[in-house]
Chain length 289, copies 2
């Protein structure tokens, strides 16, 4: 079984457990719907790629960490799409969870996915207790306060926004968790892997802005032009299309330079480059215009 | 320092960490507001009482478990009060979190409190890794799917409600986590402590119904008569005041009978009796009428 299949199987096992026979059917359906079919699974794939580069060979801890990160990402999408936030109708090419199941079920599904992420770590790492605490802390820091996704999203409620903390918390923190948890799963000191994660997060943020302006809705699984519609800042507005592409390449180069020494550093660099570039392939200034 | 002070200190440390200098100020304020000042802290006190009865003497794991349970309880109150659920304006004698800080901040505060609960366990139990996995699993099972609080709340969205699963999941599961986590923190096998927790949860559910009908708003910190207003089932409607009081005593007796053999069983029984009875002391059929 390849790594991608292991990840899907891990997610399937987790969601199946959370939606056991006693679960209210509507919540059970919403939990499956929020996780499957997935998007590109960029974050968990990054976590697994780092673990492999660090010489991890059994992948039990890395797969659990990757699944937990993906479950938390899915939870954040469900809650971000709620009417009180982005009020988004389409996600991953289908109606968002609150549109399909109602707002109450969407709130609860997001909550249950957060819980499930930590439960999955505890179940899968029960036999590697020395890995459980550090990986749980890495993952929790990426989603809670003061620097995780909740904090990032909460900057949108402030009169004065701290744009650096905002973007690092809302997007960068979970990428940093991917690289740090991948290293920790392999038994390495995770701190050295944080800079790489944040740099990938910054490249991803610019790529996301480029796709919102110059991408195709069917590739994104959601409408384009959302930043303009929601009056959100977008790097293409600020820098122009070519300037944003240069900024993307700058962050990608910074990421590659930040890969710590490890057995699979070269292969990891190639993977990060390929996945990152795939996000902006085919975009052109003509589309953006 | 007594146990109650240790618990408050543990909660204070957790919330302070989650609201560090980089946290958006509004979210930080909402997190403090949601946790302090507390209600009766019945659940964490139960967890600590069980740990003590089981012979625990250092309380590090028990205090972390108790704090995690209280943080999850606070999170559930914040989300339950949201406009799409109970739309409750008053909680613990002051405006509910969404009334004080807005709906967006309330959603994020609830999410961040869930994350914080698991982070607190990982931080405090890093040096007792053999306790971390089982306590995390106990706590997660009490709040996620298929049998935890999220599932309990989600039964309210179903056309056909499974009333037994509904009440056990919405109220009983977290009480069961209190007794089980208290035992696990003391190094005992937790399963034997589940029945006690569910029985206390059932007594608490009846007491809660009695207080809603016959209590005083200033004692509850929220308006009375909410079940009638929200068309929720209430044991007083079903059984009458005296019948509900008998049902309460029945569940309390069942709880006392379910205390597993342990060094402090007698003292624990007295504590459970005192705390449970305090909930219904002073209520009278005349008030209910």
């Amino acid at each position: 079984m390849d790594i991608a299949q292991r990840l899907e199987q891990e997610l399937e096992q987790a969601v199946t457990r959370a939606t056991g026979p006693e679960c209210p059917p509507r919540l059970a359906e919403a939990l499956h719907y929020a996780v499957f079919p997935g998007g590109a699974r960029i974050r968990p794939r990054l976590c697994l790629a780092v673990a492999r580069a660090c010489g991890d060979s059994n992948f039990v801890a890395a797969t659990a960490a990757a699944a937990a990160i993906e479950l938390l990402h899915c939870a954040s999408l469900v809650h971000d799409d709620l009417p009180c936030f982005d009020n988004a109708g389409i996600r991953r090419g289908k109606p968002s969870v609150h549109c399909a199941f109602g707002e109450r079920t969407a709130v609860l599904a997001g909550d249950a996915l957060i819980v499930l992420a930590f439960e999955q770590l505890a179940i899968r790492l029960a036999l590697s207790p020395d890995r459980l605490a550090p990986i749980t802390r890495i993952v929790a820091a990426a989603v809670g306060g003061p620097n995780g996704i909740c904090a990032g999203q909460a900057w949108e409620n402030e009169d004065k926004i701290d744009i650096v903390n905002y973007q690092r918390a809302k997007t960068g923190a979970l990428f940093a968790a991917c690289t740090m948890a991948g290293a920790a799963a392999a038994g390495l000191e995770p701190q050295a892997w944080q800079t790489l994660g944040y740099a990938i997060g910054e490249a991803f943020q610019v790529a996301d802005d480029l796709r919102d302006v110059a991408g195709q809705a069917q590739d994104l699984g959601k409408p384009t032009g959302q930043d303009a519609a929601n009056h959100c800042p977008n790097f293409v507005d600020e820098l122009g299309f070519d300037g944003a592409m240069q900024r993307f390449e700058h962050h990608l180069a910074a990421a590659l330079a930040a890969i710590p020494p490890c057995p699979g550093a070269e292969q990891l660099g190639l993977q990060i480059t390929a996945v990152s570039r795939s996000l902006v392939t085919g975009l052109s200034a003509r589309q953006a215009a």
